[in-house]
Assembly symmetry: C2
Homo-oligomer: 230 residues x 2
């Protein structure tokens, strides 16, 4: 029987690459996306389309209610999204409290129900050094907890959390995805993309993505908003 994998799919460049990697390894892929009140909701449509066009077996959207929690520029419209670049060592205001922990928890629940032993997430420690929950030691700790939390551990299986992008630069991710046939025009990374998924070109996420295509020497297929189109 084909091995099942749960893939966290945001609709962005990284997670699309992860889906391509899991597919190329022969997994039956089940994607999961999160509607967490993010400003950039276009990514949810992109995620659904990516899942389908890349041959995933199922796709789910889970509503994550961060409203009562607050505390991030991505979910609280009273906090501005910064456009001045990522500062080393600081945790950006675009950091959503415990976001990956909440997302991984739902993905874990799904893995348990589907009886999947593999869970893929596109965290990256190179570009997101300011996010504590993008570090491998965090993922390792989550994996250990997950195996104690669920029937999976009790029934003698082991849940593996796979982070194929963790040590790659954006350019390396783009190169790998391009080799695997990912169409990056179908992905959106911008923190404040419009309803059509067009990117602002100036937020941290846009700058990292843009630089990645430049460094990889691959043409950037991103659709930018007219005003900010370079």
């Amino acid at each position: 029987m084909q091995k099942k994998a749960v893939i966290l799919l945001s609709g962005g460049l990284d997670s699309a690459t992860v889906l391509a990697i899991a597919s190329s390894q022969g997994y039956e892929c089940h994607t999961i996306s999160f509607n967490y009140g993010q400003r950039h909701k276009a990514e949810l449509d992109f995620a659904a389309d990516l899942s389908s066009s890349m041959g995933a077996k199922s796709h789910r959207v889970v509503n994550v209610d961060m409203g009562p929690i607050g505390g991030s520029a991505l979910t609280d419209t009273r906090i501005d999204v910064p456009v001045s670049g990522v500062e080393d060592g600081d945790i950006p205001v675009t950091y959503v409290p415990a976001r990956n922990t909440v997302f991984l928890s739902y993905a874990l629940a799904l893995a348990e129900v589907l009886k999947s032993d593999d869970l893929f997430i596109g965290v990256n420690a190179v570009d997101y050094s300011g996010y504590p929950d993008c570090r491998q030691e965090y993922i390792d700790a989550f994996e250990k907890m997950a195996n104690l939390a669920t029937k999976i551990g009790v029934e003698g299986h082991t849940l593996n959390i796979q982070t194929p992008l963790i040590a790659l630069t954006k350019a390396q991710i783009i190169q790998m995805g391009t080799e695997l046939g990912v169409d990056y025009s179908l992905t959106v990374s911008c923190y404040q993309a419009d309803d059509l998924g067009r990117a602002c070109g100036v937020c941290d996420s846009c700058r990292l993505r843009k630089q990645g295509f430049e460094d990889a020497n691959i043409q950037d297929p991103t659709r930018y908003l007219p005003m900010t189109n370079p």
Copy 2:
């Protein structure tokens, strides 16, 4: 400054006791409840009332979307709630996949936003030996992960997950809560309570609660549904 604590409050007997314990230790208490599509929604009203009557500083209800995940008698009406007693060693069908992990993740996010270093949860390893996520080793692993996941760990604080009930019997919990002044008539434990919070008297949760009052030799203030009132 008064130390803040985040308390997971279900509206049941155990978490009400935990709130009383945290209050008695001088914490400024912030309660959090979860609407996860449970059949027994009356507990959400009970939780809000308990939080207020027991002097918590704030109360939040987070909508947890387990619908796309499925897999439990508590959230899937196609699976019957068992009334025949808990079997040793088996994981009951009332187990919700990764539930405590999902709940603790939201509570962790709240702790991070409130800058609280203490998180209280009423897990109990005595009565719920069949639930993997009620064991202390699971809680310890979550705590370790949590300190790697968030700003809390990065900023040199330590998040402590307190489980004051973990080794207590139901009778001991009831005795402790009664000494702390908890009014258990304001709590609801039944897996299939009606809209008024009246208990069925026959589900696993009702049976454990009933037995607890008997063993503690304290009068059971639970309001049972007329049909099943003994």
